[in-house]
Symmetry: none
DNA sequence: CATGAATGAGCGTTCATTCAT
DNA sequence: AATGAATGAACGCTCATTCAT
């Protein structure tokens, strides 16, 4: 299908790219997106700034690759959850695990949020939409079983997606000790927002 | 009082400043905060870049004035609402009116969100926190009357505040015709998230 | 002779020019030559910056006029001294009176020194040389009477002229109480430098 | 000691820095301190203006390095003088060699004087004062041996220090052929100014 | 005469990107 | 594959000067 999509990179090139991506994540998390220059990324990786340009077409390219890397990891991590026995429970579980992931991968998730909203609006719509699409699908199913309230799944999905982007910042300004409680409260909010009310089943 | 807080500006100067602020809003909404340079703002206003420096002390000053202008308008618009007869209704009304305001003032609200989260100066923490504090107060009251669910008001407030920042973008990617439906759905989400469940009263 | 040298200025124009020149002196003395902008001068005179451009051809012109003004006053003040009975005494008297003038007209003399050495090297050579020429003439006369040492009058004149330019700064960094002692020491230095040694008369 | 004081520069970088410093000296000597912009320095060195910022932290840094470079050369050159057999002879020798150095290094010495009095940073007070302090010490010693007149050494030192700053300009406006005569006359002036009069010993 | 709004050239500085090595 | 010297465009900002009022 797309034969020229993967430029066949050597092992050494692949590891340099990975190293640079990690340095980018660290730099964004530490200094913020705007203050993340090639020079600073290079310093983090103990390489020269020119090398970044050598391995990536442009700063935008680097940011897109970094974004993709973080999203892929997140997707993977979110994938293997326990088998829930109801849609609301599945949602709650997913949200809780998401917050947990944010606590455990502060830098990545901080970088993720910053790139998503600060990078020059590229074709990101694709991936972003992908997350949302799955979510829409999930909500719709839950609704068809009467387990979710009759709300527009797309609106819920986008609200939730956006909210997820703020979790790292929210965690950052709370003491570690409160993170668990926050996870619980935060998840409950969205479960309540979409769950069928108790009386509905009558 | 502070009699020297207002430097007594001439009518002409006041209108230029207003024009520049409007151009700033337009530029941010169109190109994003980061890409909003004096040159671009000047092009929008059909003036020279130097003139912006002539009327504002610095870029930071311009952004603060712009932020203040938008917030003042928003506050005013949100102030005169109808008298609601319950806390959930009050919340719903507030949220609906907020979305309506966003539709009617797309550029401003887009700029507002971007300045709020990208401007470097943290003096803004005051106002930002003020909004959230009012909200926390409001939720707490509603809870004491049993009209709101027993959730952490601070978490709800921050989630909602963040969500409000995304409304302009969400509206942007939907056809005008759906804005009303979006407002309804979006508001309902947060009302449901915090409202006491129907069975609670029993 | 030079009919177009004096452009015949109205009374009001003449006083504005004088006012601006005074403001220029004050501004230079207070903020230093480099930091002396039209805006600052204007603030000192409580007028608009544009008015300065209206009354003077350019910044360079203003500085030249200011320079001339100060030099003319200095010349006048230095002119009316007592009748000395020897060349060395005349020199000593002149130098002492010069230092006294500097203490009494700090701003002017500070501005004078700064303009002289910081202004874009114009045709200042003329006036500067004039001072020196008189001095050369005076020294030569004294030498012909055997009252001054046989040194190159031109070298002495230029050294002294330059030294005079530093007097305001030197006074500034000494307490007022020491000014008189400084005047004495400083004058003696140059008198000794050029005076015939005591044994010469034998 | 301070092992991290010298940032270990490559040979190429060191030569570029040297080249830029030379260009700075030339530019100051040619156009004056105030008119010495990065653009002009760059033009002198046939490089881009940005390269100066690449090699020096700021304009102030460049000027400090330039100042230090010139002072170091001057100190070195002035250091190795002949062994004089009296204080006045030592002074005379020092002054003569100073003037000679000025003739041979016009640009440097012109730049030196200008940077010293125009550079904004007062960190220089140290070195400047050091020169004067040494001089005061030297004069005091000579006085204690009865070889120098009983004048305030501090006044003499400041007058001489200031005068030294004018030597390059004085040389500039005299034909090369007269430089030696100027050196002799100029030095004699200050030696006479401070030397004990011949009759004092009787 | 005088204002002050407006311009435009120039400033020092930053930074992604290029390229000789 | 990697460096780091070098560029050039763009940035926010300053200021003498112009000109409509």
């Amino acid at each position: 299908m797309q034969p020229n999509k993967e430029p066949k990179r050597s092992f050494i090139e692949e590891s340099r790219r990975a190293q640079i991506v990690e340095a980018t994540i660290a730099a964004i998390a530490e200094h913020g997106y705007t203050a993340t220059t090639f020079t600073r990324i290079a310093r983090h990786a103990a390489i020269s700034a020119g090398l970044i340009s050598y391995h990536f077409e442009s700063k935008e390219d680097l940011m897109n690759v970094t974004l993709g890397t973080i999203e892929r990891r997140l997707d993977t991590a979110m994938g293997d959850g326990p088998e829930p026995d109801s849609y609301p429970q599945a949602l709650k579980s997913m949200l809780t695990r998401y917050v947990a992931y944010c606590t455990e991968h502060k830098q990545e998730m901080s970088a993720l949020a910053q790139i998503r909203q600060q990078a020059p609006h590229p074709s990101r719509a694709g991936r972003d939409g992908a997350d949302a699409d799955e979510l829409v699908q999930f909500i719709s199913e839950g609704q068809s079983y009467g387990q979710f309230r009759d709300a527009d799944p797309a609106v819920f999905a986008s609200v939730l997606t956006n909210a997820m982007g703020h979790v790292p910042r929210e965690l950052e300004r709370r003491p570690e000790a409160e993170h668990e409680e926050f996870a619980s409260q935060w998840s409950a909010l969205f479960v309540n927002a979409i769950s069928a009310s108790e009386g509905d089943g009558s």
